[in-house]
């Protein structure tokens, strides 16, 4: 808690924060000042959690599997080139096809900046949403006692820390498990409204609250409050909310598009963001899931349009940004009695942006015949999600010691997918 490192960070962020407010500077000064200590990382990891377990088999569709079509008589996505062109999957590699609502992602896949990893997931067998999300976010499947999230541990382990109170930001009303821990993280839903609003007395009220919380409280409340006020200062100065989406990007209306829009604003205003988190719900399609159209299709459209808008908004800056998506588990291969799917096992992840060796569906495909299914119902996991993150964290974020991030898990070269270049 009081290691020299954290001391330096605290001091640095405090001083820079103060200077920013007092002088009303632009963020460039912050960057310059931070450079005097340790150089800030320009690279950003954007982690997206699809809560509720998205049906990966209908996102990146194994069109080459007859069993897929047999198992899903009413909700399968037709093969590329089938008669109903609007409903057909978009060919990715001759075997896999992309759900038509995911079309906005296709250009990125084709130009090599987006990749998928299929049959990925957590080795733990739980089909509980809560437990599976918890295990994925703690980074320790099967271990419930882990106190912090793996991205928080990654931030602690990261040598190149730049000391910004906005190193880690979650666009959500509560702090996700993945980012809770010693590194500290800010959660908010509205970048532009983040601060004490007491009219003419705002600054003084803010100062009073800061003093109260700093002096009187130890533990969670105090630490959180401190992070809040540090972040408030930087945001007040940098004012990211004033940045309109660039390059003609149009975010769909809705919470997820809004989250990504604000993450882009934070990136573009250079406030020292390293890890951003957003979640998006509505994937628990037990009934009336639909195939090329319907419930899942609508969710995917919003999801894909939001991500594509984000990439377009950031333009060349996307070279510094690696976006990765995950979901707690996949869904049953066979559709259930209500044209939906129940809780399954392996799922698909999307990677997009800087360092991604795209244009490919990664991972060993286990096949859907009964002998290869997990418990005779689900896609088996062939890639541990931790191996995907290990690559990103090591090669993009400069995390050297992955054993701290994923304790008890052997990160081995032979398990690497090679989905990340540098």
């Amino acid at each position: 808690m009081t290691s020299p490192n954290s001391m330096n960070r605290r001091m640095l962020l405090k001083t820079t924060g103060m200077a920013l407010v007092a002088g009303g500077f632009l963020p460039r000064v912050f960057v310059r000042m931070a450079k005097a200590g340790t150089p800030p990382s320009k690279r950003v990891l954007v982690a997206i959690f699809q809560r509720g377990a998205v049906d990966g088999l209908n996102v990146v569709v194994p069109c080459g599997e007859k069993i897929y079509y047999d198992a899903r008589p009413s909700i399968a996505v037709p093969r590329p080139g089938s008669s109903d062109a609007a409903a057909a999957a978009l060919d990715l590699d001759g075997f896999f096809g992309l759900h038509p609502s995911m079309a906005p992602i296709l250009p990125y896949f084709r130009d090599g900046s987006a990749a998928f990893v299929h049959a990925a997931g957590s080795p733990d067998v739980t089909r509980s949403h809560f437990d599976a999300q918890d295990f994925m976010e703690s980074g320790t499947p099967g271990v419930k006692s882990t106190a912090d999230g793996f991205l928080s541990r990654a931030l602690v382990a990261n040598k190149g820390e730049n000391g910004s109170p906005l190193r880690a930001v979650a666009l959500s009303p509560t702090l996700p498990r993945m980012l809770s821990g010693a590194a500290g993280a800010v959660s908010m839903t509205n970048v532009g409204e983040f601060g004490i609003r007491a009219g003419a007395g705002s600054a003084a009220a803010s100062e009073s609250f800061e003093s109260m919380y700093a002096d009187a409280v130890s533990g969670t409340l105090g630490g959180t409050a401190r992070e809040s006020f540090d972040a408030v200062r930087i945001l007040k100065s940098a004012d990211p909310a004033k940045l309109a989406p660039a390059n003609g990007a149009e975010y769909p209306k809705g919470p997820f598009g809004n989250s990504l829009k604000q993450i882009a604003q934070l990136i573009r205003s250079n406030v020292g963001l390293e890890v951003a988190f957003a979640d998006v719900g509505g994937w628990d399609t037990h009934a009336g899931e639909g195939g090329a159209q319907g419930q899942l299709s609508n969710r995917l459209r919003d999801y894909a349009l939001s991500i594509a808008a984000f990439a377009k908004d950031l333009g060349s800056r996307m070279g510094d940004v690696t976006l990765v998506t995950m979901s707690e588990f996949g869904r049953t291969v066979r559709e259930n009695g209500n044209r939906g799917t129940d809780h399954g096992h392996a799922n698909v992840m999307l990677l997009l942006g800087g360092g991604v060796k795209g244009g490919k569906v990664y991972g060993k495909w286990p096949g859907l015949d009964a002998s290869h299914l997990y418990e005779n119902r689900d896609v088996a996991v062939t890639t541990d999600f931790r191996d995907v993150f290990a690559e990103i964290l090591e090669k993009r974020m400069g995390v050297a010691d992955l054993s701290v991030v994923f304790p008890g898990y052997a990160i081995e070269e032979k398990k690497r997918l090679g989905v990340i270049t540098t």
Binding site: M18, A22, H129, V217
Partner: protein, 602 residues
């Protein structure tokens, strides 16, 4: 911790000087840090609670905090007598609550009426829109973004056809308003805490389709009447509730077709979309005789994981599937929106749940299975732990959980006895529990209104503040419900939202809510800053203000704050934003106290 925080303060000034920044250094910034003082309310304590602290503790934990005068009233009657009274809410007169709830007409409507009033218009508008689109022959292929835009436009257009007072949103708004009003003004405080607890335990996401017109009856007819009875009765009632059957998809779960008899087609009714596909356009509103369909294991899993055994309660995937078979046919009456057992889609085979054979039958299979679940030792432990987390601590001792679970079991799931076991345990009034729990957003907002003697009609801006802090009422999407632990609520954005709410509430900046602080503070006290602080600290937080917080507030008053009376930033008070209106020293002090770390705790 202290040094880490302190030193940068001085450093900040140095940095400013070194950079030759031409900016005025505010007095607050330049001020030297105060000398360390006692941490009155936050350090873990070991001395026993005083009588007054016990009273405060009981009012905080078994209710939504004291209103002006409550501490004195409870002290007079004795805290044990007050608890005893709270354990028997029917004995408490609550006459003054009814007029407050009277404006909300949806609270007493049946599901049928709610459907006809709020669901039917929007469905009709959607149908008309679709028919019009079909007539116009919209067949051109659209890109994803065009489709999304068209969908959004269509939604907007459909919505605009419905007058605001007939939009489904009103149902949830009225229900939420009633929850806040009851928590704030009901004399049956423990009853309202338990309603909050059980509605969360049996969480239903009210924005999922038909649940928006089923949720009112769920709270009124299913949960509220049973929270003082037996757990198994409450569990069974939720299992048969249309709201839960729809939310967790059991209404649609049917036996595999080969296990069902072929029967002639039947007319569909109002609530048919709860389990049947929409009829084909132009076709008859009827179910095909040989409808496809099969098991849906969503509810079967969650009733074991969340409602009874707990995730480590010793059930397998096979138990989930078997229980789903048992519960096939537990569905919703398509006309009246009430529970109906649909025998024709019930799985006819024998099932095994948790090692117990359930012979093939009808509805009694499910009733038997639910009793089995309710009476499992794992269920007793799970319910006991959750209640202890709510009433005692985020991490209750195993001894306490065991003790409460034992009472649950010996009383055959009597929920009054189970709660009594908690308040009678040594843990409840143990010194370390005093102000040890962080309030949930709902608890925080309600307790602030109560403490300041506020009068609220609960307009949407107030509900939005609770949502902004992370707990939109009736709108928790996953079946887990909201967490009861501080870690879920203590985060940057939510803390800032709490501070802003505190300031706005005390300054009469929350639309539809008024506080009159001058009425509560003696004129002589109000004339003096120190005495004002002490008076408001006594009123709002039972005097538990740390020296640090007190000094900070005093300093702030010394800065000349509170002299201004112009509206904030020239903004007019609106429905969407909180704009502090009053700028008196009393409102300033109260805002800081309500936003202080002390007031976040209970």
């Amino acid at each position: 911790m202290k040094t880490i925080f302190r030193r940068p303060r001085a450093l900040a000034v140095l940095v400013l000087l070194a950079l030759s920044v031409e900016a005025p250094v505010s007095p607050a910034l330049a001020q030297t840090a105060p000398t360390p003082k006692t941490k009155a309310s936050t350090a873990p304590r070991s001395t026993p609670m005083t009588g007054r602290e016990k009273t405060l503790h009981a009012l905080n934990r078994l209710g939504f905090g004291p209103r002006p005068g409550d501490v004195e009233r409870v002290e007079r009657m004795g805290v044990s007598a007050w608890i005893e009274e709270q354990l028997a809410p029917d004995s408490i007169s609550d006459a003054r609550l009814s007029p407050r709830l009277a404006p909300f007409s949806t609270l007493t409507m049946s599901s049928e009426t709610l459907y006809d009033t709020f669901e039917r218009p929007i469905r009709e508008a959607r149908r008309q829109k679709k028919a019009a689109a079909g007539a116009a022959g919209q067949t051109t292929a659209m890109s994803a973004s065009e489709t999304a835009k068209a969908d959004a436009d269509a939604f907007e257009e459909i919505r605009n056809r419905i007058p605001p007072e007939k939009r489904p949103r009103r149902v949830i708004e009225e229900l939420s308003a009633a929850r806040v009003l009851r928590a704030a003004y009901s004399e049956r405080q423990l009853n309202e805490v338990l309603v909050d607890f059980w509605m969360n335990h049996f969480n239903v996401y009210a924005a999922k389709g038909l649940d928006r017109v089923l949720i009112t009856s769920f709270e009124r007819d299913v949960v509220r009447p049973r929270i003082w009875g037996r757990f198994e009765d409450l569990l069974l009632a939720t299992a048969k509730s249309p709201a839960m059957l729809f939310y967790l998809d059991n209404a649609r779960s049917v036996a595999d077709p080969e296990h069902r008899p072929a029967l002639p087609a039947r007319r569909l009714g109002r609530f048919a979309s709860a389990f049947a596909r929409p009829a084909t356009p132009g076709g008859a509103d009827s179910i095909p005789a040989k409808r496809k369909g099969g098991l849906n294991e969503n509810y079967a899993r969650e009733i074991m994981e969340l409602h009874t055994l707990g995730v480590d309660g010793g059930y397998s995937q096979r138990d989930v599937t078997e229980l789903a078979r048992v519960l096939t046919g537990w569905s919703i009456d398509p006309q009246r929106g009430e529970f109906r057992f649909r025998e024709r889609v019930h799985d006819a085979g024998t099932k095994t749940v948790l090692g117990r054979t359930i012979p093939a039958g009808g509805i009694e299979e499910g009733e038997q299975a639910i009793l089995i679940l309710a009476r499992q030792p794992a269920t007793a432990r799970h319910i006991a732990r959750e209640l202890c987390e709510r009433f005692v601590s985020d991490a209750p001792s195993q001894a306490l959980v065991d003790r409460v679970a034992a009472r649950f079991t010996s009383s055959r799931g009597d929920l009054r006895e189970t709660v009594r076991a908690i308040v009678e345990s040594p843990d409840f009034f143990a010194p370390e529990t005093y102000r040890a729990k962080v309030k949930s957003p709902f608890e925080y907002v309600v307790s602030a209104i109560r403490a300041s003697g506020g009068e609220t009609e609960v307009r949407p801006p107030l509900l939005r503040e609770i949502a902004r802090m992370g707990e939109p009422l009736y709108l928790c999407q996953p079946p887990t419900g909201y967490s009861d632990a501080a870690t879920a609520w203590v985060n940057t954005g939510a803390l800032v939202a709490r501070m802003n709410f505190a300031i706005a509430l005390a300054a009469n900046g929350v639309p539809g809510t008024r506080v009159d602080l001058a009425r509560l503070v003696d004129a002589k006290d109000a004339a003096d800053p120190k005495r004002s602080i002490d008076a408001l600290a006594r009123l709002l937080i039972g005097g538990d203000l740390s020296e640090e917080t007190r000094a900070t507030i005093l300093r702030r008053l010394g800065d000349g704050a509170g002299a201004e009376r112009r509206p904030a930033d020239g903004a007019a008070p609106g429905e969407d934003t909180l704009v502090p209106v009053d700028r008196t020293p009393l409102s300033l002090i109260a805002g800081l106290i309500l936003g202080s770390p002390e007031f976040q705790r209970q």
